[in-house]
Amino acid sequence: MSSITQFGNRLYTGETSINFIGRRTLWYIISIVGISLAIGAAALRGGFSFGIEFRGGSEFQISNPAQVDTSIAVDTVTSDIGADAQTRVTIVGGSSVRVQTDQLTTEENDALRASLATAYSVDINSVTSSFIGASWGSDITSQALRALAIFVVLVSVVMALYFRTWKMSVAAIVAMLHDLVLTAAVYGAFGLEVTPAAVIGLLTILGYSLYDTVVVFDKVRENTAIAYDESKRTFAESVNLAVNQTLVRSINTSIVAILPVGAILFIGSMLLGAGTLRDIALSLFVGILSGAYSTMFIAAPLYAQLREGETEDRKQGRAQRTEIVRNSAGAVR
């Protein structure tokens, strides 16, 4: 059997145990340092650069050029404005070329218009320029934020009801925020343009993070839900044991989830160079790693810490009561 199975055996039996709960200060510091570094790097880059879907930009349309070729336009914009102009070139109606760029100044606008006319060998009057608004407008953002806020409230209530303690909800939401902030900051630190696809990637991470935390918390619930008359373990030790017992699962799941994303990130980038797909893959890659980390090193210790103030009796008493309630409910059905 592979060594990870042996490792799993030792974790399960309690022979090997990683002190997730006890050394929480260390984990918290690692997270804070990591997030601070990423935010610092992103800030040095000048914050997020939003794509033209969010800010709008300039648009040029070249009517009936000799060659309907998009690469000419890309080259022209790159030499005129620079590589970071977020150029988008499409062919409209089969006979004209449309170029969308960042919002340009009037001079840049005129210059690019002339260059495009030269590059496509058409009269300058065949190149029209106009301003385009954001396709991801503020209405989409505000609706999405409202939906997210409602989701966070609902999911907190659902988790609190299922786990019978609101403290698990708090710990899970904190871990989720940790992942979102870290992923967004790393994305910004790489100086990548924020596209709608990147936002969708971030939403995917939000779901993944909560999912991962719930899986581990369900084991915590299982381990702490029964009375511990004969066990000498404290509550914190029970939580720690649960995280250790699910560690093999966490490692396996993270590897399985990260392999396809990593393949897109590294192989896809080699095949394609920069592109939307690489941008999404990067945010997913960071997010999945962060999600796995935060479940074990943030959510679980935080949960144990939140319940620290309660006496052992209360923690166990509550557990006993819920157990009885659950049994009687089972009998009614």
Partner: protein, 565 residues
């Protein structure tokens, strides 16, 4: 439970899965045969391109479109586009006046109408009406001008006082009356019947161009509508007819206004008893007011079809556009990202999957067969669902959607991993494989359900409340989560149940991935087990057993070594 019934249930579950797949395939197949649908899902704008429609506002000369009006129009048009399905369309502005709507594929006329018509609904009291032909006859006998109209309709007196309410004929002056008699419907449309001042009376034609009306000022309008539904109209005896109408629900303000007006109209006679429903500058119907409507829930009729009534209901629900738009151009556009991105994404995804398979083989040995076949089934089921929804619901796969599907590999595989690890835990506890599978499933199932419930909640909330691309994401998340649940319940678990009965797995072959020895299972002597049961009472035994189970095996060994402490 007997092993016989276990395997029977397992086979039943597998049969269900087969039925679901077959049903989906049949649905898609029938679409392919009869509706020219495709066996592959349709792609979104970024991957396939589509049609770009530029809408120019219809505003009167000299007036300016404000930024708020434009933003409002964009929001409403987006809702209208979205209401047709999950199409991942894009709506933006161009040059500060035009609205650009990009739709994947080629939109039909109905879609265009749905998007651009303003859906400005007004209720006005009828002051005068007659058939266009009889008014022409009057105009004809008088040589085109109308100083002294012929017997029908009678000459109209000049207003004697300021009008007091919307049904007061004092609204009609000679200029208005002249227009009523002479203007053609086209002239009236061109004069801006759809942008008329709501506080003034109006000369207007019916939708079919057969009747002309003089209407009072606007009494109630579409902005007071809180909900609208297209449905069959009920006949006078309450029996459903096969005519379509739009059922409106007004807000408080609209309810009061509607009640006041209808109360006033019921006591009037002749044409002034009619209440005209004006949509985008044409009267769609002008029913007689038989009773006051106090509940704010009128029904509007007109010559609706099922499609037109539902379209109008959608338009009214999302609100009227502040201005009407006309299609300035409609052209095909190439994709912004292109198939190259999709292809290399798929290649990279396939390589990633291969790595997942290799990793599973190392981790789970023969058990990896279950993981891989489950992933294949999950992939197949997702493909079928997405293709079906693409044909039936306008779902389009965007690049972000593809990325979501790739992450779903992880979430789907996690269900199997959670399950396998729980089974292994039970094996470590010394259970036989058959009962370890059942016990492990019991524990894993709860975890899988609650964690998927969280994802499903996210999908539903975002789908219902968000707009634009976020809805597409929510849709993908929902589909993959449901597929995950179906596969783990109807495939992975039954398959493992059946495999647990084979010699290879049950004997704990070293390559089975479920070998108790290499999992470090504790040997629980049968005698000791029986003694435990014998000493303790039934209930006590249950608790003690549970507690013993909850102890780690290391603790248990320590306890055994340390004697009876």
């Amino acid at each position: 439970m007997s092993t016989q019934s276990t395997s029977r249930r397992a086979i039943r579950a597998l049969t269900w899965l087969l039925l679901i797949c077959a049903a989906l395939a049949a649905l898609i197949g029938s679409g392919v045969i009869w509706d020219k649908q495709s066996w592959v899902p349709k792609l979104a704008l970024d991957l396939e391109g589509g049609t770009e429609i530029i809408l120019a506002p219809q505003i009167q000369e000299g007036t300016q479109l404000t930024e708020e009006q434009l933003a409002q129009a964009v929001g409403i048009i987006r809702q209208r586009v979205d209401s047709a399905g999950v199409s991942e369309s894009e709506v933006s502005t161009q040059g500060g006046t035009n609205i650009v709507v990009s739709i994947p594929g080629t939109p039909d006329q109905a879609t265009l109408d749905r998007i651009r018509s303003s859906a400005k609904l007004e209720f006005r009291a009828v002051l005068l009406t007659d058939a266009v032909v009889s008014l022409e006859a009057v105009g004809g006998t008088n040589g085109g001008t109308t100083e002294t109209p012929a017997p029908t309709p009678p000459p109209f007196p000049e207003p004697t006082a300021d009008p007091t309410d919307g049904s007061d004929t004092n609204w009609i002056g000679s200029a208005l009356y002249n227009t009523y008699l002479t203007a053609t419907c086209d002239e009236l449309d061109a004069a801006g019947a759809n942008v008329a001042d709501p506080a003034l009376p109006l000369v207007i034609c019916s939708d079919d161009g057969l009747f002309k009306y003089v209407l009072g000022p606007v009494e109630v309008d579409g902005s007071m509508i809180s909900d609208a539904q297209g449905n069959y109209l009920a006949g006078s005896n309450g029996v459903q007819t096969n005519e379509w109408g739009v059922y409106l629900t007004f807000n408080a303000e609209g309810t009061t206004a509607f009640s006041t007006v209808t109360k006033r109209l019921t006591v009037l006679t002749g044409v002034r008893n009619q209440f005209a429903i004006v949509l985008d500058g044409r009267v769609i119907s002008a029913p007689r007011t038989l009773a006051a409507i106090a509940d704010g829930k009128p029904v509007i009729s007109g010559s609706f079809t099922e499609l037109s009534s539902k379209t109008l209901a959608d338009q009214l629900k999302f609100g009227a556009l502040p201005i009407g738009f006309e299609v300035q151009s409609s052209e095909t556009v190439t994709p912004t990202l292109g198939v190259a991105q999709l292809q290399s994404g798929l290649i990279a995804g396939a390589i990633g999957l291969l790595l997942v398979i290799i990793y599973s083989l190392i981790q789970y040995r023969a058990l990896a067969f279950v993981t891989i076949s489950s992933l294949v089934i999950a992939f197949g089921l997702t493909y079928l669902v997405i293709t079906y929804l693409s044909a039936a619901n306008g779902y389009r796969l965007s690049l972000a959607g593809v990325a979501g599907l790739i992450v779903a590999i992880g979430i789907t595989a996690d269900s199997f991993i959670v399950y396998f690890e729980r089974v292994r835990d039970e094996l470590r506890e010394g259970r036989a494989l058959g009962s370890a599978v059942e016990a492990g499933w019991g524990r894993a199932f709860r975890t899988i359900v609650v964690s998927d419930a969280v994802n499903l909640l996210a999908a539903v909330v975002l789908f219902v409340l968000a707009v634009g691309n976020v809805r597409g994401f929510a849709f993908t998340l929902g589909v993959t989560t449901v597929v995950d649940l179906l596969v783990v319940i109807l495939f992975t678990h039954p398959l493992l149940q059946l495999l647990a009965r084979t010699r290879f797995f049950a004997s704990g072959h070293p390559l089975s991935g479920l070998n108790p020895k290499s999992l470090g299972a504790v040997y629980r002597g049968r005698a000791q087990f029986v003694v435990n049961e014998a000493i303790t009472g039934a209930a006590r035994g249950k608790v003690s057993k549970e507690v013993r189970k909850r102890q780690t095996i290391a603790e248990r060994r320590a306890a055994e070594n340390g004697g009876d402490s």
